[in-house]
Structures are given as structure tokens and as C-alpha cells.
Symmetry: C2
Subunit: 661 residues, 2 copies
């Protein structure tokens, strides 16, 4: 016979949100409201009460939030997460004997039935519940019980009173309550985990003297420039000693000259490995100083974590067991047969010494956390074992709940999603290759309107040091403007790799390739940041708009709107309070002016369909008086290929709008 009490009649099913049947946490930001739904029901006609349980993980007692029925046996409740770290939630429900009785009593009274016996049943329930109550309230139970038991119009009135319902809600026993045995987890991060503008630069190219290797001090001098564009995060490729064995030359040449700096991702040399700093960049003190200086400018430093070794990395001689040995005594270098990457030794995650390897890699993250780094951009996490990531991210976030991990996994969808489930806060994604209206609509809808959004935070990059998409190659400056506005407004988090981006550098390594020519990955470059065609002022403007308009802070509120021109895309976002409604319109054609009519669902956007409203373009400060669902737009790629409107309801005249901000 059933192991649990067979009298537990309530059924709880299909609790949402949940990831992989509850195996992985959902992700939220401090201050977020977490809304939970469940199918809850019981046999027969009894009434049930349903409560959402939640607590910080490890806390002894549950907090409770009421759940209310929607339709079709679905219930909903919500609570706010107030602290970083892990929360858990689940649902409990029970047949509510008092509510069932009370509901029936009202109908019996209405039908004029004799309710004498019913009132005795109710009085007994009220008296019994009093035994669970503190003394003062227990005496109220006794008073109500006696009054109900006495019957008559007064007894009936008392029986059906809101005060008695409240007393019973607080103290009545939850007979045979069913609590979902599975607890669902939430990882709660700080706001930067969801919302931020990233800027990537190579420290080696920050020197004011052409050809000289840049230093952390040069990066410090660059901070006003980056902060002036209102970025939030400054991300640097690996800063460690670079291997000399099989070092790559300019443009990924297999041989290099004595002065060539090599790729920063070929980590480790005689000077040290993942915890050391490339001497040309400076010292650990210089690095700490940079972290603090950046903070003064409102910039947070993100470090690149690439768990792989150059052949001269100290690990190779100290821990040969962490690599795969070949029968000829050599160590297995990275390969994708027939291609060979002899400058890189991957770790062997199937080594017998996997525990020692895991601990050492964790200590790398800890080391940099101790230097003040809280944002880790992880290189190619999809070529390391998933269980390692799940373990190490949980370990680091236990000590540093503010830590943010960005997965650079340009790979198959389910692999990317698994890394997000395993703990990565954010994910690079296919945005660089989603260029048409159809592609962007499909892909961003998937990222923001399906279950994926519960655990995967997209970080949209129009370019990276490895990716110069064809659209940017052929579209030049207008394409760079359009893609920038799309990245910065479609998602709450985005980044650009500069200064090539704002300078619209767009020469590929070779026709048909999407690597940059003369990439900073393999050589030192010098940039003229003051070029008049730089996009820096557009970037500054857009980042300011992002900061000023809370609608841009969420990833769940994106809606695409119809435009009768395939080259124009339009989408709106709103904040949780629905007080800030923005509409972005972008011309995707980098060559020609495009015009069209945007169709908006006015009532959904909180606009009166019978009144004009204002579309205020925050990019140009132009204000358009719009009316009805269809309005004309015209965008010239040679000036500004986008509108970023805030939509404002009209109050009385066209000069007297209801300003939301």
C-alpha cells in the first residue's frame, strides 16, 4: 500500500518556471518579482488553498506567499528576491475544510435550508483551530465558536464573516497538506548580470607610441575614453605570459619573428601561467591599480579565462598527468583533424587526477577574484567538461555571489543552453549572424519569449576579435551603426570589440573569411580614436539612453511590430511598471533610404487609440505626433539608420505630454 498517507488528496503538477524538470536553477536579479504557477486541484468539489513556499537556500523556515486561482486549475503567486545567492521555492496546498464549509453554508442559507447541524460542524472547526492559536487569538476562536454554535441570524453572520475567515486562515490545521517534494532553485545575481554595456580592448594596443607594447597604465589612460561612451564593463583578453613554442605570427602565421607578441590565448611561459601577468603589461600591483581606477570611472573589469596551455606553461612540466600523453612521449596538442594547433595543449578532463585539476582551475578563478575581478569571460567553455563548470561556478559564487560568468561558446544550441544551465550567467550567441528582419525576429523571440530566458542571459555582440560578419564587411559605417543600435536595444546586455568597431574597421583576413585582417590577436595595433567618422558619439548617446530608460533593463519584455518593408525592423520594450514605453525602428539596408508604415498595437502599449501620441526620438531629439496604429517612418543609412523613440501619451495639447521619466 501507498507509503505516504493515502488521505493526501490534493495534486500539484507542472510548477513553472522550472528548468529540465527542476534539475537546474532559474536566474533572477536582486529586486525581481518571481512569479510561480502550478496546476493544483483535488478530487470532488472541495475547495483548496494553495501557498507558494520560498526561502534562501539553507534557511530553516519557509516564507509563504498566497497563490490565487487563474483558469483551468492553474494557480499563481509571486515573491521578491531581495538578496544575491540561491533561493528555493515550491508549492503546498490542502483541502481547506473551513472554506469548503463556509462556501456551502452560504449557498444553504441562500436556499433557505436549515443549517443548525452545519453551524455545529463549523463551530467545532473554529474551536479546534483555536488550539493552534496564541492565547489572545484562541479566545477569539472560542467567542466565534460559541456564537456560531448558538446559531440564528447572528451565528450565521459570524460564521460567514471576514474576521472569522482571517482567523481560520491563520490557525486552522492544514489537514493532509500536499507539498511538492521537488524544490526549485533560483540563482539571484546583481543587476550587472542582466544589464550592462561591454567594451573589449586589447591592452597591447593602448600605447600612445605606435609599435610600443601597451601597458595597464596605458589602459588607465584609456579609461576616460571608454567611460565617456558610457560603457559599464571593460573586458580584456588574457593578460598572462604568452608561450614561445609554436608562437603564432601576424595574421595567424605559423612562424613568427622575435618581436611578435603572439596570441594572448596561448597562455603560459617561463614567467608563469594563469596566475601570472605578462611582464610587458606591468605588475600585479599595476593590475590592481587598474581595477580600482576603472571603478572610479564606473567601469568594471572583466577578465578572460582560457583554460588551456601553451607548451611552455609551467603546468606542463609540473603536472604532466593533466594532459594526454602519446605513446611517443609527446603531449597531445589541440587538433581538429587534419588541422593542428601545436601552440595549445588542452587539459585532459578524463585524467585520473581530475580532482586536482579541478581544484587548481578553481584556484585560478579565486586568485583573480582576490585581485578584485568579479566578471569572468570564459573562453571556449564548450571544450571542457560540463560537470566541471557546474561545480566550479557554484563554488566561486558561494564565496562571491556577485561573480558573473560569460560563456564564449559559439557552438550548437543545446551545448550553449547546457552551459547556461550549468551556471554561466550570460552567453555569447548567434546574434552576429542574425542580420535580416526574419532572422532577428525569430532568434530574439526565442531568446526572450521562450523558456530559454529563464536560465540563459544573452550578451549580444555585433563583432568579436574572431568575428567580422559579412554584413559589417560589406555594409561599412551604416552597417556598424545599425548593428550597434540593434545590439544595444534588443538585449539588456551587449558588447562591442573596439576600437575597431567605432572606427568601422572592416577588412577581412581574406575574401570569404570573417577574421579581421592584421588582427590584434597576433600583433600590436595603433588606433586614431579621434577620427571624425568614429561612432563614439553615437555610442555614448545610445548608452546614455539605455541608462535613462528602464525599459532597456529587462530581457523578457521584447515585442516585434509589423512594418510593411522587409528592410525596416521595429520593436518595443517596456519596464515592469509599464511606465516607460520605448520603440526602436532600424533600417537594415546599409545602402539605401527605406520608408514604411509601422503598425502598433496601441492598447497593448497603453496608448489611447483615439488620441494622438508623441514619438520622441531620443537619438535626434525630434518629436513626431503620431496617430492611430499605422505611422510613417523614413530612415537614411547615411545619416542615422535608426529611431529610438520613447512613446508618450497626449494629455491635453501637443505641447503638454504626460512625461513618464
Amino acid at each position: 500500500m501507498s507509503e505516504q498517507d493515502g488521505r493526501t488528496r490534493v495534486i500539484i503538477e507542472n510548477i513553472t518556471p522550472r528548468v529540465d524538470d527542476g534539475a537546474f536553477p532559474i536566474k533572477r536579479i536582486v529586486g525581481d518579482t518571481v512569479t510561480v504557477e502550478a496546476d493544483v486541484f483535488v478530487d470532488g468539489h472541495d475547495l483548496i488553498t494553495c501557498v507558494l513556499l520560498y526561502k534562501k537556500e539553507g534557511a530553516a523556515a519557509w516564507n509563504e506567499a498566497p497563490m490565487a486561482p487563474l483558469v483551468n486549475d492553474r494557480w499563481r503567486g509571486s515573491f521578491k528576491v531581495q538578496e544575491m545567492g540561491r533561493y528555493v521555492y515550491t508549492v503546498t496546498a490542502w483541502v481547506d475544510r473551513f472554506r469548503t464549509w463556509s462556501h456551502a453554508l452560504a449557498k444553504r442559507v441562500e436556499a433557505g435550508q436549515d443549517v443548525t447541524v452545519e453551524l455545529i460542524i463549523g463551530a467545532d472547526m473554529v474551536a479546534a483551530a483555536g488550539k493552534n492559536a496564541p492565547p489572545q487569538q484562541a479566545s477569539w476562536h472560542d467567542i466565534y465558536a460559541e456564537s456560531v454554535r448558538a446559531g440564528g441570524p447572528d451565528g450565521i453572520e459570524r460564521a460567514l464573516s471576514g474576521e472569522l475567515a482571517r482567523l481560520m486562515r491563520a490557525h486552522a490545521e492544514r489537514f493532509f497538506a500536499c507539498t511538492c517534494e521537488r524544490e526549485f532553485s533560483i540563482v539571484v545575481d546583481r543587476e550587472r548580470a542582466r544589464f550592462g554595456a561591454w567594451y573589449e580592448l586589447f591592452p597591447r594596443s593602448t600605447s600612445p607610441v605606435p609599435g610600443r607594447h601597451g601597458t595597464f597604465k596605458d589602459v588607465e589612460a584609456r579609461l576616460p575614453y571608454v567611460a565617456g561612451m558610457h560603457f559599464d564593463v571593460l573586458y580584456m583578453p588574457p593578460i598572462h605570459p604568452i608561450g614561445r613554442t609554436f608562437r603564432k605570427g601576424p595574421n595567424n602565421a605559423t612562424t613568427c619573428g622575435p618581436e611578435d607578441p603572439g596570441s594572448p590565448w596561448a597562455i603560459g611561459a617561463a614567467e608563469g601561467g594563469h596566475k601570472a601577468i605578462l611582464p610587458e603589461l606591468g605588475t600585479l600591483d599595476d593590475f590592481r591599480h587598474l581595477v580600482e581606477a576603472a571603478e572610479q570611472y564606473g567601469l568594471e573589469l572583466a577578465l578572460d579565462i582560457a583554460f588551456q596551455c601553451a607548451p611552455d606553461h609551467p603546468y606542463v612540466t609540473e603536472h604532466p598527468q593533466w594532459f594526454r600523453a602519446r605513446p611517443d612521449g609527446t603531449i597531445q596538442y589541440a587538433e581538429n583533424p587534419p588541422k593542428k594547433y601545436q601552440d595549445i595543449y588542452p587539459f585532459d578532463f578524463e585524467t585520473d587526477q581530475w580532482r586536482e585539476l579541478w581544484e587548481e582551475l578553481k584556484s585560478v578563478l579565486q586568485f583573480w577574484a582576490e585581485q578584485g575581478v568579479r566578471i569572468f569571460r570564459v573562453d571556449n567553455p564548450h571544450t571542457k567538461a560540463f560537470p566541471f563548470w557546474e561545480w566550479v561556478i557554484a563554488e566561486i559564487k558561494r564565496d562571491y555571489p556577485e561573480a558573473i560568468f560569460l560563456a564564449e561558446a559559439f557552438t550548437r544550441p543545446k551545448v550553449m543552453q547546457r552551459l547556461a544551465k550549468a551556471g554561466f550567467t550570460q552567453s555569447y550567441n548567434y546574434f552576429p549572424w542574425r542580420n535580416t528582419k526574419w532572422e532577428l525576429t525569430q532568434y530574439l523571440t526565442e531568446l526572450t519569449q521562450t523558456d530559454v530566458r529563464e536560465y540563459m542571459g544573452p550578451n549580444l555582440w555585433p563583432n568579436t576579435p574572431d568575428i567580422l560578419p559579412e554584413y559589417l564587411q560589406y555594409g561599412g559605417r551604416p552597417a556598424h551603426m545599425a548593428r550597434f543600435v540593434l545590439a544595444a536595444t534588443l538585449g539588456p546586455t551587449y558588447g562591442i570589440y573596439g576600437p575597431v568597431y567605432e572606427l568601422c574597421e572592416n577588412l577581412p583576413l581574406a575574401p570569404g573569411r570573417e577574421e579581421y585582417l592584421n588582427s590584434e590577436k597576433y600583433e600590436i595595433r595603433t588606433w586614431d580614436l579621434d577620427r571624425p567618422d568614429s561612432l563614439s558619439s553615437l555610442i555614448a548617446r545610445v548608452n546614455q539612453i539605455r541608462r535613462d530608460n528602464p525599459a532597456f533593463r529587462s530581457n523578457h519584455n521584447l515585442k516585434f511590430h509589423a512594418v510593411d518593408n522587409e528592410q525596416i525592423i521595429a520593436f518595443s520594450k517596456t519596464d515592469e511598471a509599464r511606465a516607460n514605453e520605448v520603440l526602436v525602428v532600424v533600417n537594415l539596408d546599409p545602402h539605401y533610404k527605406q520608408t514604411g508604415f509601422v503598425t502598433l498595437p496601441l492598447e497593448e502599449l497603453g496608448l489611447d487609440p483615439h488620441q494622438p501620441y508623441q514619438a520622441h526620438d531620443l537619438l535626434t531629439d525630434a518629436r513626431y505626433l503620431w496617430q492611430g496604429t499605422r505611422n510613417y517612418v523614413e530612415l537614411n543609412p547615411l545619416t542615422v539608420p535608426a529611431h529610438i523613440f520613447v512613446l508618450r501619451r497626449k494629455l491635453r495639447t501637443e505641447h503638454d505630454f504626460d512625461y513618464y521619466l
Copy 2:
């Protein structure tokens, strides 16, 4: 650190089919192919091998079926279930070192690389695998290992040979294999669980003498009639002694005369309860004789199980604790305030003696199983605790895996679905109230093309003793024909309540009500089965077509097709082998002739779009030569409002078709 071996790198996710994260079994029929899919992948570029594991529940060893990759990291495998009872399945996968090595070797060889060291690595693997092999095959491993180790063109050829791949598939160690820890269950039933035509009759009305109470012997005399219509299941309302306290009179009157038989669902009187037989029907021996006689006619008896008591049921005095007592010493009767059902006492599933109650109710099912009954139509299961059903159905099916349970739960969707998950083989459903083309298309698509089909078997009834839908009331005989054809062809299992159905009885209790006037529930009726307007010959024809055409045996293969007339519905079905393609077209308008063009996706149906094909109407034996995707139909409700076509490819001439059957 991780409890499991951190070197287990393979990830298995999203195994389908699964019900509620694997909490409940899927349902299949003996002989069915079970197709299982999963997302399976690993970090990096290694190749994996993926295997489907399955066995009868409780068996020691797994059987294995290969899984093949589809797209997007999805894998698929399948196996057949050959016996009734419970099976379990899950998925295992591992990084396949030999396949990874072999795949890379081929590319290296193609690129002309030196593979000496690679061949040594491979030879070592082959030799190691030989240690797991039986002696004869182990020696083959040694031969291959040496040959591969020796290198040269021969070594390479051996290394890449299919024979070596087979040897290694059989014996290579599955390093760090990942097996999904959850096992998923299957309940395997006999074919009648999915496919069958049911006929319901009241034994009380089977007497040839008007007004005399019918007996089991009278029912035996009715068997040729029912079998002549090619039904498979004969279902009778409860056959137990009927309570006398508060017995209902004709048309549900609250008072009754001394001769009124009462409702068979008011179970229990001085003569006995759920294990006794109403003396007017006969004896237990008579019942056993009826079971056997029915079997002779190819009919299986289904019994009504209504777990509730009349006030004079022996349980009430023997086990008062199984009912809810009121403070005035009375027992709580059934209520839906303000409505009172004083002739029924429900069991209290929250009684302290729930274990005794459960055991006794189980013994009722066991008792009738011992009399030869294997099909139980359960009355109002949604007013009894779900955990009871889950337990009792599993208990009965352990001893009688051929048992079939039909849930009569006309209630909310999630409650119905939960009963199916808890073990009910089949379910009544909303079919009686789905009458328009849109309603039928939506609802049957939900039942047959969504996950619901994995566990809920619909049993489609156009009427029941409680339900005379408005469509039948107003549509008369044409409506009865149309609804019959729909029930019998949309689902593999359906039923009618006769003889009222075939005689097109359609008077409601009162205008706006959907109960039958002068219902057999409360009185004895006499029927003229030979009336010339009886639908019995249509019914016989359709049931024969169902038996002859395997397409009608499955619930998963239903497709609706476009018709340019809202009053005409068209749908096709096919069998697993796709050798039998049927097309049903029904005029839903019971008043007027309707015409229209049916549009068919010919290639999906296995028809050559450039050749004519034959639509052979199995109802009328008319043959139409059709061509192209759009073809004309015309249906007159006053003759036959439906076509049941079998579609046949043309071979050479219109007289020489490719007969599938």
C-alpha cells in the same frame, strides 16, 4: 566536490516520451514500436555512442537498442513491446574513444599525415578491448591490434575496417558512460485497450415482455443483435441490489412507487452491496454464464464500478467509519449545495480507516475479475482520491495485466488527465459537445497529436444515459448517423448507448436539458429493435469497416484536411505500415445537402500527384476516380451523410488498382 565521477562528460537531456518528468508511465499496446528520443552530447569534438536501454520492469538485465543521431544533438532509437505489463526504458551514452580515433585517423590519412603514433594508440585500444571479449574474439582483437600496430597500408586498412569497428562496438569498454538516472515506465496493454467498439445497454430493458424486468438470460438473447452490429464490448450499468431509502422514481422524481426499480447507481440494499447481484437480474451463475455466452459472440463484458452507497448498503452499518458522520448522528449524504442527493452516501476518503476502505474496494474489483470481468467502466472517478486510483489500478493490473479501466470523468481537463496518468486506460471526454468542424478539429488534434496521447486513451461517445446533446435532439436521424460515423472513425475506441441511439430516440427530459426523457436509469423500457429506421445496418457496416482497415486501430495517425465548406469535415488515417490509407468525409449539417472541394496533401498520403487515384467509398461501395489535390464531394444528410473512403493508387488503368488490403 562532485559526488559522481567528474570524468562523466556526456550529457543526456529531454528524453521523450515522458509524462510529468517521468512520474507516470506512457501507454502502449502489445506489438507496438516504442520510439524514444533524447538530446545527447558532450563537450568538445569527441564522438559519442548512444544506446536505448529497456526491459520488463523487475528484470535484472537491460536490453539494448541502438540510437542514431537526427539533427541538433537529438538521438532516436526504438524497440518493440511484446508482452503485457510494465516496461522501463532509459538512455546511456559515452565518449566513444575508438570511433573518435577512427574518425580522426581517416582524416589524417586523407591529408597524408604520418599516422605511426596514431596507429599505436589504436592498437593499444584494440588490444585492451580484447580483454573484455570471449576467448575466440579476443584472439581476433590480438590479430587486429598487431596488424594495426605494424602500420603501413595494411595496418591502416585494418584500422578503418568495418570488421574492427564491429569488434570494438561489441567489446570496447564504455569509459565514463552516463546513464540517465531516471527510468521511464510503459504500461503495455492488450489491443482492446486501444481499439474497440462499445455498446451500452440496460439489462432491465431487455425483456421481450413489455414492463417485465429484464434478466441476464434476456441479455443473452440480445447478444446476436449486438454481435450482429460487430461491437466488441458490451457494457452494462451496475448490476447490484438497488437501495430503497430515498429511491428515485421515473425521470429522477424524488419519490417513487412500490414497483419503480430505482437507479442502478444507488448501490446496496439488504440483499447485498458491490459484490452482490440484483435478484431481478438473476444469480451469480447466470452472470458467469452471460460472460461466457458473450465471449462466444466475440463480445467482452464491461462492468460498471460505482464506488458509492445507497443508505441501505450493508457497508453503512458494517463500516460506519468509512462515511462522514454529522454531529446529529446522521451520515453525510452526497451534496452539491444547495442540491441534495439523499439516496447516495459517498465514501469518506479522509477516514482514519482509509487503508481498510482501499482494501475493500480493491476486493470488489478482484471479485468481479474472478468472475471473468476484465473491463471496468468506473463511474465518477474524479470524486474519489487520486492516490487510491493509482494504487488500486496498479494492484489489479499486477494480477490481471489485461484489465482495462475506463474513467467516466466528465470534469475539468487537468482532472481527467490526472486520472489517465494515475492509470486509467481510457477516458470519456468532451466529444459529445464538440460538434462543429472547428471544435472537432481542435479537440481531436489535442487528443491525438499532443503529449496527452502518450497516456490518455479517448473513448468517444456521441451519447450516454446522462447525455443527449442538443445536436442529437435537434438533428434527428441524420445527426445520429453523422455523429456515429465521427465517433467510430475519429478514434480507435468509441461507444454508443443503445438501443436509444440506433433508434434515434431524441426527446429530452425538458427543453434545454440534455437528459433523456423517460430514461432507463429510473424505469424499465421496451424497444422495438426491428424498426425500419433503425441505424443498426449502418452501424454494422461501419464496425466491419473498422475491423477490416488497420488505419482505424491507431490513435496517433489522424490528419484533418481542408474543405471549402464549414459544414463538411474531412480527415485521413493510416496504419503504421502506411499500407492502408482511409479518408472520412462527413456532412455536419443534419438538414441540408452540402457540397465542397476536399484538398489532400497527396505526397504525404503516398499518392502520385500526377496520376489519378481511386476513392472507394466503403459505406456505399461507390468508386470515384479522383485526380489532383482538390476533389468534389456532395453529401445528403437524408441518405448517408458520410463517405468512408479507402484511397488506392492507380497502377495501369482505372480498373486495375493496387489493392492494399
